[in-house]
């Protein structure tokens, strides 16, 4: 169908037919809120997204500003609600600002992995034969590697930056998505509508992207949600190991790394960033649990 034709159909269609997708969307949101884990998870995630967006407005101090007066007593006080860190920087402000890189990098890496993984999985499942074998084997090799060691080697080598972290996360997570999509493609390619599309003379790429991929979206969505949570964990771990986002800008993992040696004296310095990252990951995982429940019911 050509573009002008589509526009014509859309403008000509009566409003009644356009209500349906909207209503379906509403029904799905209602179902989502009915499941307790999903509702709680969604609330946590949305709260963090709001805090991250509003960080410049609501953070009481600039994230890298030192309050040297607070160094003597860094514990929580009226001036610094969550206390300050070892350099006298306000913890609340740093935690709020620290939510921003995490909430950008993790979803971007998931989208990258989903795009790359879907393409690989579709190609492997649809073409079968040697392309399938090569892709599957390559994915197996990446998957058999303890990824943390891969991250250490790559990031220690190329240096650590937001883009490098997105890159390694995309490359190492794509094989998992590819495996899921391949499995579903193998199942879906035998369906009648795929045969019909072939009969119409559609290209392989069209069949893969338009006929097969949309029908694989359910499990993919659950997996992307889980994957976002895992990516946040990995970003935190990388920061903790000292190969994460470069200082001095706040990064939750890096904040823990700098202060956990002082646990016995000032436990709050590492406890608060740990609580922040844990709550965000719990939010995404609860959301995934809820999405899966809904998916099973339909």
């Amino acid at each position: 169908m050509s573009a002008p034709a589509t526009a014509e159909v859309l403008s000509a269609s009566p409003p009644a037919t356009r209500v349906r997708p909207h209503a379906r969307w509403r029904r799905q949101v209602d179902a989502l809120l009915e499941s307790t884990p999903a509702a709680v998870g969604l609330a946590i995630v949305l709260a963090w997204v709001a805090l991250a967006i509003l960080a410049p407005v609501i953070a009481p101090y600039p994230p890298n500003a030192n309050d040297l007066g607070a160094l003597a007593r860094p514990t929580p006080s009226r001036a610094h609600w969550l206390g300050t860190d070892q350099l006298g920087r306000d913890l609340l402000s740093r935690i709020l600002w620290g939510a921003r890189p995490v909430l950008v990098i993790a979803p971007l890496a998931v989208l990258g992995a989903a795009a790359l993984g879907s393409l690989l999985g579709l190609a492997a499942g649809y073409h079968g034969r040697w392309i399938g074998v090569v892709i599957t084997r390559a994915c197996d090799i990446v998957l058999s590697f303890p990824v943390i060691i891969l991250y250490m080697i790559i990031l220690a080598h190329f240096g650590s930056s937001a883009w490098n972290i997105i890159g390694v996360l995309t490359l190492t997570k794509a094989p998992i998505i590819a495996r899921i999509v391949r499995g579903m493609t193998l199942d879906l390619r035998e369906r009648e509508y795929v045969a019909a599309a072939k009969m119409r003379g559609e290209s392989a790429l069209y069949i893969m992207l338009v006929e097969i991929l949309p029908n694989a979206r359910g499990p993919l969505l659950v997996d992307m949600c889980l994957r976002t949570g895992y990516n946040i964990v990995i970003i935190g771990v990388l920061g903790f190991l000292g190969i994460g986002l470069p200082p001095p800008d706040p990064d939750w993992g890096g904040m823990v790394k700098d202060t956990y040696g002082m646990m016995t004296v000032w436990p709050h310095m590492s406890l608060f960033p740990c609580a922040a990252i844990s709550s965000l990951v719990i939010g995404f995982n609860l959301l995934a649990v809820g999405l899966r429940e809904i998916g099973l019911r339909d």
């Binding site: 884990p37 084997r137 197996d140 090799i141 058999s144 590697f145 303890p146 990824v147 943390i148 060691i149 250490m152 080697i153 790559i154 220690a156 080598h157 949570g229 964990v233 935190g236 771990v237 903790f240 190991l241 000292g242 190969i243 993992g253 823990v256 956990y260 646990m263 016995t264 436990p267 590492s270 406890l271 740990c274 609580a275 990252i277 844990s278 990951v281 719990i282 995404f284 995982n285 609860l286 649990v289």
Partner: protein, 312 residues
């Protein structure tokens, strides 16, 4: 069975080749870096070039890769620039430490997650089931370093029952088992979350099969239905998952070792990578991949042995 082994061994070899070549190539992007690292920031460019030539680092990549394979095959893993010791000594000492940690953790993960998973899965949807599911979801969500910080703040800072580090050195007045408690607890909690949900899912599925209904209807007590009929069948999928878990175990161990200053394989790899200690990184990566692939194979073997239908 023979075909199975040949196929898997070939895959193991292929993986080792690909990984070793990738790691080797990766280190080639900056050939001068090794000499620069050794000589320090104040060495002149000439000194760096001379050392690079002396170490043979100026020759073509493929030549050196083949040469490297040859020396590795003869049992010589090279010399660690970071620890100033032969790689073999450094590697196996740290591996042994990690093996102890991993073995203790693994010995706890399996019974712990089976107990929780079977309990949750035998009555799907019950309050106990939902409670265990929530617990495992939440525990598996907390990053290992955060779990370590949480546990340490309670048991080290607040109660003072346990040491905050596990350096394996006799000093400090803490016995070896006491040092291991917290690292093991973190690994067990983090890893069991995933295994529990696997065991549970498998158990739920088995409980819906006709043979369970038959067992119940013929009047067997619930206990023996669970223990004699359900659990054995429900273990099939989790066994593979648990074997795959060893891969995650390695990942978790790196972080846990850093939190508790444990002198193991993961921390060694981190130091080696940051120091660009190529020989050690290469050997370590090979060992890590080899272990991962071998455990995958063992997982498959266990699966075949447990399910007679596949063996035929």
């Amino acid at each position: 069975m023979a075909r199975f082994f040949v196929k898997h061994t070939l895959f193991l070899l292929l993986t080792l080749f690909v990984v070793s070549f990738l790691v080797f190539t990766l280190n080639e992007f900056s050939p001068g870096a090794v000499a620069r690292k050794l000589l320090g920031a104040y060495a002149t460019q000439e000194q760096v070039e001379t050392l690079t030539k002396q170490m043979g680092l100026d020759r073509p990549l493929l030549v050196r890769y083949v040469e490297y394979l040859g020396t590795v095959a003869s049992g010589d893993l090279g010399y660690s620039q970071r620890f100033k010791l032969p790689v073999k000594d450094v590697l196996f000492k740290h591996l042994a430490h990690t093996a102890v940690l991993a073995a203790v953790a693994f010995a706890c993960i399996v019974p712990f997650s089976m107990l929780l998973g079977v309990t949750a899965g035998m009555r799907e949807g019950s309050r106990l089931d939902r409670g265990i599911l929530m617990f495992s979801t939440i525990v598996a969500s907390i990053p290992e370093f955060a779990l370590g910080v949480f546990l340490a703040s309670v048991f080290v800072v607040w109660l003072g029952w346990l040491p905050g580090t596990a350096t394996l050195l006799p000093g400090g007045g803490w016995s070896l088992p006491a040092q291991l408690v917290l690292p093991v607890a973190v690994i067990v909690l983090f890893d069991s979350g995933y295994v529990v949900s696997m065991v549970r899912a498998s158990m739920v599925e088995v409980m819906q099969r006709p043979f369970i209904r038959t067992a119940v209807l013929k009047g067997l007590p619930f206990r023996s239905v669970i223990l004699r009929h359900a659990v054995r069948n429900a273990m099939l999928t989790p066994i593979t998952v648990i074997m795959l878990q060893i891969n995650y175990l390695v990942a978790g161990v790196v972080v846990v070792e850093t939190v508790f200053a444990y002198p193991g394989f993961g921390r060694m790899m981190l130091e080696a990578a940051l120091f660009k200690d190529i020989a050690l990184v290469e050997a370590g990566a090979l060992v890590a991949v080899g272990l991962a692939v071998i455990t995958n194979i063992l997982g498959d073997v266990a699966y075949v042995l447990l399910d007679p239908r596949i063996r035929a």
